[in-house]
């Protein structure tokens, strides 16, 4: 620095030494102010760092609108991925009465969009001292758009999740339905509620929706033709136990289960236990053949009705002669079945039926599973009536899996509604030998070629089967007019892959059926229809014509069968 300047300065300061304390004070103040400002600056810089780098407090996304809602329940599909149940976001119209300016004007305008809007109650609600009134649920986007265009103050939307069932009634009894808050309360929706809420992946059912439709159509036609009160049917893979179709009629609208009565919501396939009639002869005969109690050539006197105490056991299609075992089966002789079961005995019969799962509820994955109805004591009379399917009631699902276990080579089948990979299929424990299973297939084939089930034949598919006609219990006795007519069909009988069971509740004979309402007249043609339409979809090719004779030959029984 310039010394002279310094000297000058010194001298001037010295000269005005009285000013010095003032200057000191000013410096101190300046310093204080500087420190305060510095601190302020540091705080701001620190905060800037904090905001920009460490914890950005502002909404990271910087979005102006709320995030779109996401559905919270997994889908259900059939085995081919066809959607059976899904959840969609739907807008519901709501109002805030505090913001609505002119109630009558608002309602008038809303009515232009919703002509069916009931205004009386709304009018009242919109005058209440509340901030939320739900005007209408589940708007279509078109309606939402129209409401937006009205530009009404105080009118807004809330998003609500809604379960959709694109196939409607077709799957109603299987899928079930949800409560308003989207919890499953019936069917698959209920039994897999936790799985569906986890939303990890879709639930793939064993159903084939195309087959389901074919089955429902066939059942529906049958019910209408025979003026019946209801029906049930199912298609099952006899090896894996997968249920490919399952229909209970009458069915209901899954969007409005509350409007359906109890009988309609009732699942006739899994919940209803019925006396199945002659179909039970499948079990009686397979046990008799398996234990060696009879051979195919054994024959029994079926000339006269059997009198047991005060009961008389008669045949529906009386042959009034000696019948061999296959003849008893294909003519469905109750007398013959009773003769045969007497060689087996009650305890063994009960044990065999238990092994087939007929005495315990079906393990199918539905909440609606009925308990079988067994006689309180397994007396001789019960044994006899059960041999031809009376005195014991089981569900259609139990019946189908037990029959599948007999004809698939003799392995117990566990029914399931979930799709199984081929690798997941485990063979159940053996119930009967493959030889007995073969004999049963051949006899079931003979029912269709020569016996009570001729109307079920589909050329090329070697349908086998058994008819059942049970008189329904009414009060203390059985009714002659209220029948449960059923047919269980298998195809192809030489190497069964699928089983079709159809049951019609209280059919009435028609001119075309010559007044008959039996299983052979009512249910067998429906099974035929299901097989004819369904087999190509299931990938079962009809036998090449060249092979037909050999297959038929292999299914021939070693005993003479008189179809008279």
């Amino acid at each position: 620095m310039n010394p002279s300047y310094a000297g000058q300065g010194f001298s001037s300061i010295a000269a005005h030494s009285a000013v010095l304390p003032v200057l000191e004070q000013a410096r101190a103040r300046l310093l204080l102010v500087a420190v305060v400002f510095m601190l302020g600056a540091f705080i701001i810089v620190g905060r800037l760092f904090d905001v920009m780098i460490f914890t950005p407090e502002v909404d990271k996304s910087g979005r102006l609108i709320s995030p779109p809602p996401i559905s919270t329940r997994a889908d259900i599909t059939d085995r081919n991925g066809e959607l059976l149940a899904t959840s969609l976001q739907m807008a519901s119209l709501s109002a805030d009465p505090a913001l609505v300016l002119d109630v009558s004007e608002t309602l008038r305008k809303l009515k232009s969009v919703f002509p069916d809007l009931v205004t009386n109650e709304l009018n009242k609600n919109l005058h209440e001292k509340t901030r939320f009134v739900l005007v209408r649920r589940n708007l279509t986007p078109k309606q939402q758009d129209a409401v937006n265009r009205l530009g009404l103050p105080g009118i807004g939307f809330v998003n609500e999740e809604r379960r959709m069932y694109p196939k409607g009634r077709l799957t109603a009894h299987v899928i079930g339905y949800n409560s308003v808050d989207n919890r499953g309360i019936a069917g698959i929706e209920h039994s897999f509620d936790d799985f569906l809420r986890r939303k990890d992946k879709n639930l793939v059912l064993s159903l084939d929706i195309r087959l389901q439709n074919i089955l429902r159509d066939a059942l529906w036609d049958g019910i209408r033709n025979f003026n019946a009160i209801g029906g049930a049917g199912l298609v099952m893979d006899v090896h894996s136990g997968e249920v490919l179709a399952m229909v209970s009629l009458p069915d209901f609208n899954p969007y409005e289960p509350g409007k359906a009565d109890e009988k309609t919501l009732f699942n006739r396939v899994t919940l209803g236990a019925y006396e199945m009639g002659s179909i039970f002869k499948i079990f009686t005969l397979s046990q008799a053949l398996e234990t060696g109690a009879v051979s195919l050539s054994s024959s029994f006197d079926c000339t006269h009705p059997l009198k047991i105490g005060k009961f008389t056991i008669n045949d529906f299609h009386p042959q009034k002669r000696w019948l061999n075992v296959p003849e008893i089966f294909i003519h469905s002789s109750n007398i013959g079945a009773v003769h045969i079961i007497q060689k087996i005995g009650g305890p063994a019969q009960k044990e065999f039926l238990s092994r087939l799962g007929l005495t315990t509820p079906s393990p199918i994955e539905l909440p609606e599973v009925g308990k079988p109805l067994l006689p309180p004591e397994w007396k001789d009379l019960s044994m006899m009536t059960i041999s031809f399917g009376h005195g014991m009631a089981v569900t259609a699902m139990q019946l189908a899996s037990a029959a599948a276990s007999i004809i698939n080579g003799g392995h117990l089948v566990t029914p399931t509604l979930l799709k199984k990979q081929t690798s997941e299929v485990r063979q159940g424990p053996a119930i009967i030998s493959p030889q007995t299973s073969d004999a049963m297939r051949a006899m079931m084939r003979a029912v269709v070629t020569k016996g009570t089930g001729k109307t079920a034949e589909v050329k090329g598919y070697f349908v086998g089967g058994k008819t059942g006609t049970a008189e329904k219990q009414q009060g203390k006795g059985y009714s002659k007019s209220a029948l449960l007519s059923s047919f269980i069909g298998i195809f192809p009988a030489n190497d069964p892959r699928y089983l079709v069971l159809v049951m019609i509740d209280e059919p009435h004979g028609t001119k075309e059926s010559y007044g008959f309402a039996t299983g052979g007249w009512v249910a067998a043609p429906m099974v035929k229809k299901v097989i004819a339409d369904g087999a190509p979809l299931l990938g079962v090719a009809p036998a090449a014509r060249g092979d037909m004779k050999t297959i038929e030959e292999r299914l021939r029984l070693p005993v003479k069968i008189s179809s008279e």
Binding site: P68, S71, L83, L88, L537
Partner: protein, 174 residues
Amino acid sequence: MRYLKPPKRRNTLKVLVIWALLMVPASVLLYGTSAEVRAQETELAAVKDNIAREKEALRVLNAEWAYLNDPQRLALRAQRYLKLAQAASPEQVASFNDLEVKLAMRETDMQFARQDDLPGTRLLAQPIAHHHELLVSLHSKRPERLPSAASWSHKVVSALSLGVELPLPFRPAP
């Protein structure tokens, strides 16, 4: 003491000035980076929102597709618009191996057919195989590609979201 301060202060001042000069580009850089990050985050959020919206729209379209694929509806359409409306009967189905043999023996086959009067045997050539394929594909397959979801979902929901039973006149209510 007092007189030593000025030069020292000048030094501090210099250092401060240098720091300040350094801080200007640093803060510009920092601000720029931060602004860019925020812009990208906004974009990301917008994209995520769009994805969610598209997904929801896809769900709607899938539901609509399932509804349109109602077997009853398809059967009705097939009856109305296809000449071969009946489901293929077992006699009309043949395997490839079968077909080869059958074409080779066509002449004898026809005689055979007249003898045992098997409906459809004479027609075992191409059209029926084609028809069967067509039926199967109608029943089971979905197209590989759907149109862009969002633009369609609006229109498409109308049929679905009636909130009551779907209007299928051909499915009788008991």
